[in-house]
């Protein structure tokens, strides 16, 4: 059961990710990305973190992607006209990605508990929003507050950037 779920989600996620970078129409890219985020949320659920699944779906598939679609519609972006495929750039991109992949997969051999098998029946500590909140407000209260300041800075920055003329 774990295996079937994982493979279905993994194949769906990779297909959605390819679709994001290959679609010519930005709206289609954005919708593929929504599908990818939802699949990733379900993957979080298979890893026993229901809270992060909710956050993922509300913040990413909800708020962030609405923002993306809003901007795409606002700028009225048309499907890109067909340009000659940039083979050189494609080759360089694939080469760099392949080098990264090579390092990544060789590093996987060294993961200490990399061969630990996922099993849903074996009991794991329950992860709920309360525990995460408690940790967030005790051990991680400083990063939490810095994130709050960051959000404030982002809000002010967006207001300044979207003014008609910056004096």
């Amino acid at each position: 059961m774990e295996a079937i779920t994982f493979w279905i989600l993994a194949i769906g996620l990779i297909a959605a990710a390819w679709s994001v970078i290959l679609q010519r129409n930005p709206v289609a890219s954005a919708l593929s990305l929504v599908a990818g985020f939802i699949l990733l949320g379900i993957l979080f659920l298979t890893l026993n973190s229901s809270f992060l699944m909710m956050v993922q779906i509300i913040v990413y598939a909800g708020a962030v992607m609405v923002l993306f679609l809003f901007i795409i519609m606002l700028l009225d972006l048309k499907t890109e006209e067909k340009r000659p495929v940039p083979y050189l750039r494609l080759a360089v991109a694939l080469l760099i990605a392949a080098i990264f992949g090579g390092f990544f997969f060789s590093a996987l051999q060294a993961v200490p508990n990399g061969h630990k098998v996922l099993s849903w029946s074996q009991p794991v500590p329950h992860v709920d929003a309360g525990e995460i909140g408690q940790l967030l407000f005790s051990k991680y209260v400083l990063p939490f507050e810095i994130t709050g300041v960051l959000l404030l800075v982002a809000t002010i920055g967006v207001i300044v950037l979207s003014k008609k003329e910056i004096k």
Partner: protein
């Protein structure tokens, strides 16, 4: 055959690596700045997947990975808001979102 029926930490990490690679290819290959942004989000999410799976498979149950993912999601939301505001400002100035047309910094 066991590699297909037994899902381990390495499977999740490999999936996250593949997602990161796809995002990286998207950032390097695409010319539409909004699609580049979406690829960046894909890379952030790949990192999130790795963090959550490390947290789930750790020998001592710990929630630190979850906190980190939570903070990354918050920062990513702020980053998207600022980035899209920049894109709108850029579009107002140049009427384009194609990075090939934005060459004023080219020497």
């Amino acid at each position: 055959m066991e590699a297909f029926t037994q899902i381990t930490l390495n499977h999740y990490l490999a999936l996250s690596g593949i997602l990161f690679m796809i995002g990286m290819i998207g950032v390097m290959m695409r010319r539409n700045i909004i699609v580049i942004y979406m690829s960046l989000e894909l890379m952030l999410n790949a990192a999130n997947l790795a963090l959550v799976s490390f947290s789930r498979f750790s020998a001592v149950p710990k929630l630190d990975g979850h906190i980190m993912v939570f903070l990354i999601i918050t920062v990513a939301a702020a980053e998207v808001a600022v980035g899209l505001a920049l894109i709108v400002a850029l579009y107002r100035l140049k009427q384009t979102t194609n990075t090939g047309d934005l060459t004023s910094l080219k020497f």
